[in-house]
């Protein structure tokens, strides 16, 4: 015997199957990114073109390292979940599923690469005496 009624199980789910979860997550992460992006753009923009030592010492600073890590994690999740929207519109069936998996994978690879590079630069920064 099922304790949940059919209606109870359907409420809030809609055509997506997950209700408003996706939309809400995109909105929440958008707000987070909106607060972080301007400062981060300034840091990246002023560091781009500098020599390697300056790049490492900049990205090994606690504030810059934490901000960049947050941008990498939240930004790449926002990207991956965002691509689902156009994929659902233009690519259907197995191809659509495969493309979604590919986009999520790409986002995770970029996220992990950024965190690896940051971690390594923080260590080098410590050795350089930052």
């Amino acid at each position: 015997m099922r304790y949940l009624t059919d209606r109870k199980r359907a409420v809030g789910k809609g055509a997506s199957g997950t209700g408003t979860e996706h939309h809400w997550w995109m909105s929440a992460s958008a707000v987070a990114l909106a607060f972080m992006i301007p400062t981060w753009l300034y840091i990246v923009g002023t560091t781009l073109g500098a020599d390697q030592r300056t790049v490492i010492s900049t990205f090994s600073q606690p504030f810059v390292a934490i901000l960049t890590a947050l941008i990498a994690v939240i930004g790449m999740r926002h990207f991956a979940k965002g691509t689902e929207i156009w994929i659902e519109d233009y690519v259907h069936g197995t191809a659509g599923k495969a493309l979604k998996i590919a986009m999520h994978s790409l986002a995770y690879v970029i996220m992990a690469t950024t965190l690896y590079a940051l971690g390594k630069m923080v260590f080098i920064g410590l050795l350089m005496g930052n």
Partner: protein, 129 residues
């Protein structure tokens, strides 16, 4: 009841004869910019990885990142990012139920479009000071 007959109906909307509107333009641009930024992100992350790897590798990637090609990719990504940023705020405003009428929606679309160009130029000026 007559048998249901398959009629070859035209698909809507007909993009070729559809007059371009600010609301459809801003919707399409939000998608294109959101996805397009990944090109700039890839170049930037490659550059970060190179900085953490070795002097030789950094010099190689840094030369690409600071070349005319790198400048082009990063400038277009910056423009795309600011557009997506403003268009995202526009959607957060829509979510509150305000400015949903056509006139206001079109106005916010224009603000996003012109604002993204202004913010891109402003960013380029500030980071080069």
């Amino acid at each position: 009841m007559a048998e249901a007959k398959q009629v070859a109906r035209p698909l809507s909307p007909h993009l070729q004869i559809y007059r371009p509107q600010m609301t459809s333009f801003s919707s399409i641009m939000t998608r294109i910019t959101g996805n397009g930024i990944i090109v700039g992100v890839l170049l930037l992350v490659w550059w970060l990885l190179a900085a953490a790897t070795s002097p030789d590798y950094f010099n190689f990637v840094n030369a690409i990142a600071t070349s005319w090609f790198g400048d082009l990719v990063f400038t277009l990504s910056l423009l795309g990012l600011w557009y997506h940023y403003l268009a995202g705020i526009r959607h957060l405003i829509f979510d509150t139920g305000k400015y949903m009428d056509i006139k206001s929606a079109e106005m916010l679309g224009w603000i996003s479009t012109i604002g993204s160009v202004v913010l891109t130029i402003l960013t380029l000026i500030i980071i080069h000071l």
